[in-house]
């Protein structure tokens, strides 16, 4: 019985995604909508965790999206396209992604990290924060790739 229910649920998930997947939730801290579907294309606007994008098309590993009136491309690894509209199939206003959004931020989160830090003062989060500041700009990476005869995508 349990197996039958799970099978049905999985089918609904898969079918729902196939039929009505038209939004995507940003699942990284920050990213960008780019003019063209490739790395190093100019950034049109920044997007942040849990922003909801409307997917208009797919182009390889990229999604063509719109967000707050801005159209462009976002890489598929920065978003989760599980936010299918159950309502569009079922006539219900409720969407699975609302649950996902409410789930976001739960679990191992900043509150848990803060409490862990309090009991482990030896853990060097200060240096971890420094490391997270080690970033390379799109322009410098593009130049680095080109100078080395590497693929810029």
């Amino acid at each position: 019985m349990t197996r039958a229910i799970i099978t049905g649920v999985i089918l609904l998930q898969l079918t729902g995604v196939a039929l009505a997947a038209d939004t995507a939730r940003v699942i990284v801290k920050e990213n960008a909508i780019r003019e063209q579907c490739r790395f190093f294309s100019p950034v049109k606007t920044k997007i942040r965790l849990n922003d909801r994008l409307t997917v208009t098309a797919k182009s390889g590993d990229w999604y063509k999206v719109t967000f707050k009136g801005v159209s462009g491309c976002v890489h598929k690894s920065a978003v989760e396209q599980k936010s299918f509209k159950l309502g569009s199939i079922m006539g219900s206003g409720k969407t699975a992604s609302q649950d996902e959004v409410s789930l976001a931020g739960k679990g191992f989160n900043p509150q848990v990290e803060a409490s862990y830090k309090g009991s482990h003062p030896e853990a060097d989060f200060h240096t971890v924060d420094t490391i997270e500041g080690f970033k390379v700009s799109g322009d410098s990476l593009d130049e680095f790739l080109r100078n080395g005869g590497l693929n810029a995508q």
Partner: protein, 287 residues
């Protein structure tokens, strides 16, 4: 009985023409929706965001034993090589992004913390001969992150217990009792990952898979994938091919070399660009 009816309705609605979910009542639809949601939540894997927080804590723990090399030019260079291969991986963007740092240690090693922080030791930088070999090492670590090998070290029982606590709270913030329980589980998770990364190392199949990922990322980026084999050959020669050897957590064994050789992608070598990459490598590392 209700469950059976719902299941039947669900399957019929999906497969029989003319039988549509619109025909179900609002209550039934809500029940199905809640069932879908709670079933998937109950079995959900660790999210990218949770992986990020575990990875930060693992990195913070590693940093209790190592200091960073304070050389911005070298760190920037390692980050450029690392990002070059990372954008050619299956997952160019992680929750907090990829960040590469150099540990001030003569050991030859590298660690991929869940989520995207990758450590490489000064000893490893001394051991690689050129930029393509450095890229091979970093690509191998990016492979571990793409495969979620680090986070996979967390015991299933611990995660199931964490989910029980997480699931009992509707709000994003927790009461003190739940926080204490979650922190205990968080700490246990960090220990699980740390032991695998720093003490025991990954299993043979995970190492092989990360090597194959490295070959693919190198080829996609335009680096010479043979660099991985050359580097592993040298490590095997140094360590005598023994398990453990100079890389306890990434044992350089003959079967790894054979695995890499058997899966080597076709790649035309470009001597001029290889020389240019080797020149900038030597210039920055002072070799």
């Amino acid at each position: 009985m209700t469950r059976k009816l719902l299941h039947t309705a669900l399957v019929l609605s999906l497969f029989l023409p003319g039988c549509r979910l619109e025909n179900l009542s609002a209550d039934q639809l809500d029940l199905i929706t809640n069932s879908v949601s709670s079933t998937f939540k109950a079995a959900r894997p660790i999210s990218d965001e949770e992986e990020y927080y575990v990875g930060r804590a693992v990195a913070a723990k590693i940093l209790t034993s190592y200091r960073l090399v304070n050389n911005r030019k070298l760190t920037d260079y390692v980050n450029l090589v690392g990002q070059a291969v990372a954008i050619h991986s299956e997952k160019p963007f992680t929750f907090g992004g990829y960040h590469f740092a150099i540990l001030d240690s003569g050991e030859i090693n590298a660690f991929a913390c869940p989520g995207g922080i990758i450590f490489i030791t000064r000893g490893m930088l001394d051991a690689v001969s050129n930029e393509d070999e450095l890229a091979a090492v970093l690509a191998h670590e990016v492979g571990h992150i793409n495969h979620r090998d680090g986070i996979g070290a967390i015991s299933q029982a611990r995660w199931t217990e964490a989910l029980t606590t997480i699931g009992s709270q509707a709000a994003k913030t927790y009461g003190s009792k739940d926080v204490a329980k979650l922190v205990g589980l968080f700490e246990g998770s960090i220990d699980d990952v740390f032991k695998t990364l720093v003490v025991n190392g990954y299993g043979r199949s995970q190492e092989h898979a990360a090597d194959l990922a490295s070959l693919n990322y190198l080829a996609a980026t335009g680096y010479d994938p043979h660099a991985l084999k050359t580097f592993l050959d040298r490590l095997v020669a140094r360590s005598g091919g023994s398990q453990g050897g100079i890389m306890k957590t990434h044992p350089a064994t003959r079967d790894r070399v054979d695995n890499v050789a058997a899966n080597m992608p076709e790649q035309k070598s470009d001597a001029a660009h290889f020389s240019e990459r080797s020149r900038r490598f030597a210039s920055i590392l002072g070799k």
